[in-house]
């Protein structure tokens, strides 16, 4: 009697489990999100791995970035540099003594044509190029004007920020870059006229 009762109980439990599974499958078919549970779980795993690795790497001394936008500020107009239109830049270049003009474009572009009296400076090699002697020379300049190819590049702003960090007064960034200078018909050295 007891044996029959326990077998019946087991059968009832099995039927309940079976019907529960069928119900879950039916729900999973109706709700695709549930069927993608494995994919979501795996994605969360990858995101956690990213968070752990990124956090650990950023705690390594020497490569720490501020977590929330401090410590490495993007260049700001009026703080790290000032904008200057080509006409004013040319007037400053010719009237003030010791104005240094820096060209941030590639060596090829510089060779083709550059602002009269400009010196090339490479952003990618900036740390090597800014020797203490050159920084001293730039500090003693009446003003520093920096330009790139056009308004579309921001390299000149980054160079200006770096120079400002090294103790120079905020340099001037040429509005319109070399294209703007050329467009204004101002003096150019090299092949481009």
């Amino acid at each position: 009697m007891l044996l029959v009762s326990s077998t019946a109980t087991r059968r009832a439990a099995g039927a309940r489990t079976h019907s529960r599974r069928r119900l879950r499958r039916a729900i999973a078919r109706m709700v695709p999100c549930l069927a993608m549970r494995g994919l979501v779980r795996d994605t969360i795993l990858l995101v956690i791995a990213t968070l752990v690795l990124g956090t650990a790497a950023n705690l390594v001394p020497g490569r720490q970035l501020a977590w929330w936008g401090k410590g490495f500020e993007p260049p700001r107009a009026g703080v790290d540099f000032n904008f200057l239109d080509p006409g004013s830049a040319d007037a400053m270049r010719t009237s003030l003594p010791g104005v240094v003009v820096l060209d941030t474009r590639s060596a090829t572009e510089f060779g083709v044509g550059h602002v009269k009296g400009a010196q090339p400076i490479s952003y990618t090699e900036l740390q090597a190029e800014l020797t203490p002697e050159r920084v001293l020379q730039l500090r003693s300049a009446g003003a520093v004007i920096i330009y790139g190819a056009s308004d579309e590049t921001d390299v000149e702003q980054l160079v200006a920020q770096e120079l400002h960090r090294r103790g120079l007064p905020p340099p001037y960034v040429l509005i319109g870059g070399f294209l703007g200078w050329q467009g204004s018909g101002l003096p150019v050295d090299g092949g481009a006229r």
Binding site: L39, L65, G69, P74
Partner: protein, 153 residues
Amino acid sequence: MRWLRNPWLHRLLGLVLGGIFLYAAHAKILDPRPLVTIIWNYRILPPGPVNLMAIYMPWMELVVGIALVTGFKRRAAALCSTGLLIAFMVALGINAVRGINVACGCFSTSAEDVSNAWLLILRDLPMLLAALVMLVFPPARRAGVPAQPPTPS
């Protein structure tokens, strides 16, 4: 469309796309500082979260790259890479519409590496397609039997 579920196709796509992600990650992991400037130059994010993006994005690319190349959690990696590529394309698209060619920060952290934004979007499209194939058409478990989505047990 059964050929899209071919496991060998998925291995090949995983190797290629994963390799691209690993290559893209290496320079940014070595020095994330220039990446801050590049992300800032997109002029989409406010200054606060720019650093967070520069800290975690290269590692996301690394994790996704490893997962795609090794095949470990490949479908989840395909989902992450789809998200990353869509985010990159939206960011580039916004600047393309604005008419600004930014240094994309795709494979180098040089702010001088300025390219045409529309061309960069075009370059990302095949990668997005590969990621979508791996995501939407999971490989067949056995020959001729398409894989079923996992059901909760």
